[in-house]
Amino acid sequence: MQDEIARLRQEAEHDVVVAETAGALEEVRRIYLGRRGRLAVLFDRLPQLPESERRAAGQALNEVRAQIEERFRRRAAVVAGRDRSAQLEQERLDVTLPGWHRHLGRRHILSRTVEEVQEIFIRMGFDLVDGSEVETDECNFEHLNIPRDHPARDTMDTFYISDELLLRTHTTVVDARIMRERRPPMRVLAAGRCYRRDVVDATHMPVFHQVDGFMVGEGITFADLKGVLLAFARQMFGQEARLRFEPDYFPFTEPSAQVAVWFNDTWLELGGCGMFHPRVLEMAGIDPERYTAFAFGGFGDRVVMARYGIPDIRLFWENDLRLLRQF
């Protein structure tokens, strides 16, 4: 019996070692360790052994079983590892093949930049307010000190819907509305589409975008206007941004200025600005002796064109994804 056990052990160890696959190993396991396996056969014979040998043989069989099982476990780990490697090897990809793409959505460069402008002013304490694109002649012009037949209306050639209703020519109209609703102090920003009967060319569209802001308070000065716009320009165009203020004329501000930023080695006009005309404050029910106010407007399409070097305003409206995906 002891010899048989020793032989079985030797053969089992050999068979385990030569089993190359999980299948072969399983077969080996079945032959030696299975319910009808060779080890089981030997165990079955134990009761027939003489009393004196039975105990030793039993012990030996148990040892051998433990040994074979241990060998088997080790071999199984080796084979499994080898199998996985083979499988993984089979699954090898050409990692240089191009990736598969899920489409990513993008903001339109125009609306994204306008939002950036808004964010900068919101950080400086301006409230962003809503306005409508259809407006009254009264708010768009009269309340901004531009009566009928005022020559300044020529620079804002207007689309009319009726004698009273028009498409707003500037977001400054929102300023006029808000100033009647709220009481100072206030810092307010409005943005959106404006309309003028401009002939389409590289820098003009009948529909365009403006951002307009104003601030009313006691002791607000032109110097504050310059400071706020400079802070804006530095965030928008970089810390080195310089601004240029030159006299201009708007019926609703006095003094009035045109503001430009030095960017990419050229002066880029940002828009108009100035101190709200006392008449405008009076019409809004604000005492111009106690309160002063600055206002600015523009800061729309042209800012986007300049910042990104887009040469033609019409490109914004074509929605050519080849362009929009550049940003």
Binding site: R102, H103, H108, M124, D130, V134, K226, Q258
Partner: protein, 689 residues
């Protein structure tokens, strides 16, 4: 305003270096146009604000230059010789509309010889952009450019009754203007008439009948002040803008009229001979008093944020021609003739700022109680919704809000659709921009086509913007303006080699899923039902509802509509009333505890009649499942040979959970069988084995 440099130098010493000149003028608000050369003549091209008629003249510019460089202006020197006979005997003037014409003066010049102008005059006129006509007409233009006061010369012998009447045009009256156009006039317009008929449009253009010709010997020289808004109204009604109307509409100062007239009369005598009759006619019933303004010196710093030395303030105003007297901290400022823009304190402060230099005003930061700014809630919600769509993989588009109605025909919008209630522009500029858009979608479809024509695919676009509808009823065209969302998706959702098209092409359910994500993110409960929309595929056309109200349409674009937009392939589209959606949106978020107990999962598979909307089945499941039913997830829809005829198989994964304990299998099974019972009794559904 084009100003020949040599002409300017006649009145004021000008720095030699034109670049330095322009830089300084730019700081005064004249713009940055470079010097232009017309032959030998250097010409400045200056931007002039619409409140500064005085700057539409060489002398006006000279006054600005003089103030800037602290020089003196030398006005033109001339002598006007008058004959002894009186103008009043040769002609008469009546002003019937003194509001429209505060002042009218007429000189009579006899014995003129009409001919060509001297070269120097022709050169200057042409450098300024005005064509030479003859010596008399040229003088009127020359003096207009020099002094800013438009003038007109009539052939006195052609004026019926030798009479000038300034009045409104009569209904049906016509005049042939100098440009040869026969123009219809109306009573809103101011005209110059003789005893019989209109002979000129006041402040705009003279008439052909009375123009100066070779045979003219007696000239009536008009120099007048017309009411600015009236002049502008007349010019606009005629659609005619001239050098003259551009000046009058800025409200010229009546006080400058006679100086210019004298200068012109003298110049006519010089270049065309003739004699000026004594006693020019001057109808000026209410002479304008000079404007006097009080300037409080402390106010300057309150507006500008800069202390300008008091002496500097007075000096600037004096150099601009003001008379300045001082009492304490107040200046009393008398404005010179011509400066119609200076009317109140702020106007003077601007002059001080302009000539002191905007660049000398420091940059400050307003130091009042600072509050963080915030966006209006609707704008926050709009930005949030936009962000969801971008996360969903759509590209944002921006399309024009001006349209032509035929774009609705191309889409195939029904005649009684509210989108047909278009808002029309009174004065469109282009034939294809006559109305305001009532939908976003058509513009997006055009954008899709543009991209496809460039072979850019896929194209998944959305736009958020305003749409406009004429409100029904009412006499006035009231406009309803609201936010709208349009979506147009064409082509694949994903791209890659070997990716099967059928697995990556956009379908109805991708679009619906996107809208479900959007509304879920906005926390708006919605439902969807089949709809009949003429521009959508009849079987793939849906209505989006919130609180039972329709808030949009979506589905697959009708192939006929796609053809009319030159689109091939399936396009999935939506037109959503964003205003209605955002009104219901909730952006505020609150922590909800995560489940602490395990769920029990069960599958449910039933046959239902094939025409039964799945939403019905889901509703019954939800209702019967009760509060323990946490999730209902449809994972299979089958119609085919394995299903009984006319039946459809639906398979759902259900998840049951109790918030406060571990749910038992028995409880879940009991709920499941309740669901089966309900499905059977209300919908006639049978369980699938």
């Amino acid at each position: 305003m084009r100003v020949p440099l040599s002409w300017l130098r006649e009145f004021v010493p000008v720095p030699e270096d034109p670049a330095a000149l322009i830089d300084r003028l730019a700081m005064l608000g004249f713009g940055h146009e470079p010097v232009e050369w017309v032959g030998e003549e250097a010409v400045l091209d200056l931007e002039v604000a619409s409140n500064r008629p005085d700057l539409l003249s060489v002398l006006g510019v000279a006054r600005e230059v003089a103030a800037a460089w602290e020089r003196e202006v030398t006005p033109p020197v001339f002598t006007l010789r008058r004959s002894t006979s009186r103008a009043g005997a040769a002609a008469a003037v009546a002003v019937e509309d003194p509001d429209g014409c505060p002042r009218y003066t007429a000189h009579v010049i006899t014995g003129v010889r009409v001919g060509t102008s001297p070269d120097w005059m022709v050169r200057r006129l042409e450098a300024s952009g005005i064509r030479s006509i003859n010596n008399v007409v040229d003088v009127t233009n020359y003096v207009m450019l020099e002094q800013g006061q438009p003038l007109h010369a009539f052939d006195l012998d052609r004026l019926a009754g030798a009479r000038i009447v300034v009045r409104r045009a009569r209904p049906g009256e016509r005049v042939v203007t100098l440009d040869g156009v026969d123009r219809a006039l109306d009573p809103e317009m101011l005209v110059i008439a003789d005893a019989e008929r209109a002979v000129a449009v006041a402040g705009v253009m003279g008439g052909a009948d009375t123009e100066i010709g070779a045979s003219t010997s007696r000239v009536l020289l008009e120099a007048a002040a017309f009411h600015g808004p009236q002049a502008r109204r007349t010019a606009r009604r005629l659609g005619l803008r001239t050098e003259s109307s551009a000046r009058f509409e800025r409200s010229l100062d009546p006080r400058g009229v006679l100086d210019a007239a004298h200068r012109a009369a003298a110049l006519i005598a010089e270049v065309a001979g003739g004699q000026t009759l004594a006693g020019a006619i001057d109808v000026y019933p209410h002479p304008a008093p000079p404007t006097v303004i009080t300037l409080r010196l402390p106010r300057i710093a309150r507006v500008l944020g800069l202390e300008v030395p008091e002496d500097a303030v007075a000096a600037i105003l004096r150099r601009l021609g003001c008379r300045v007297t001082r009492r304490g901290r107040r200046l009393t400022v008398t404005v010179p003739a011509g400066r119609v823009d200076l009317q109140r304190e702020e106007d003077l402060i601007e002059e001080v700022a302009r000539h002191h230099g905007y660049d000398r005003i420091p940059e400050a930061m307003p130091v009042e109680a600072i509050q963080a700014g915030r966006a209006a809630p609707v704008l926050e919600a709009e930005a949030f919704g936009r962000d969801v769509l971008i996360r969903g993989g759509l590209d944002e588009a921006v399309t024009l809000s001006l349209i032509s109605p035929d774009i609705l025909d191309r889409l195939g919008v029904a005649a009684d659709d509210t989108a047909r209630r278009l808002v029309q522009l009174q004065n469109p500029l282009l034939a294809d921009h006559t109305h305001l858009r009532s939908m976003i979608l058509p513009g997006l479809l055009d954008a899709v086509r543009v991209n496809l024509s460039h072979r850019v695919e896929p194209v998944h676009l959305f736009e958020i913007g305003r749409v406009f509808h004429a409100a029904a009823g009412g006499v006035r065209p009231e406009v309803e303006e609201r936010r709208a969302l349009g979506i147009a998706m064409h082509g694949r959702l994903a791209r890659g080699w070997n990716l099967p098209a059928e697995a990556s092409d956009v379908t109805f359910f991708h679009l619906k899923g996107l809208l479900e994500e959007l509304t879920a993110e906005l926390r708006v409960g919605i439902s969807v039902e089949a709809a009949a929309v003429p521009w959508l595929h009849p079987g793939r056309s849906a209505r989006l509802l919130a609180d039972g109200a329709e808030i949009g349409m979506f589905g697959e674009l009708h192939p006929a509509a796609a053809e009319r937009f030159d689109l091939t392939g399936r396009v999935h589209v939506a037109e959503i009333n964003l205003e209605a959606l955002l009104r219901r949106a909730t952006l505020a978020r609150r922590f909800e505890p995560l489940p602490r107990y395990p769920s029990v999962d069960r599958d449910l598979a039933v046959f239902v009649p094939a025409e039964m909307p799945q939403a019905e089945v889901r509703r019954v499941i939800r209702q019967a499942g009760g509060p323990l039913l946490e999730m209902v997830d449809l994972f299979d829809v089958y119609t085919g040979p394995q299903a009984p005829a006319g039946q459809c198989s639906l398979a759902y994964a259900l998840q049951f959970r109790a918030p406060d304990r571990t749910l038992t299998a028995e409880e879940a099974d009991a709920a499941l069988s309740r669901i089966h019972d309900a499905l059977r009794s209300t919908l006639g559904a049978t369980p699938r084995a």
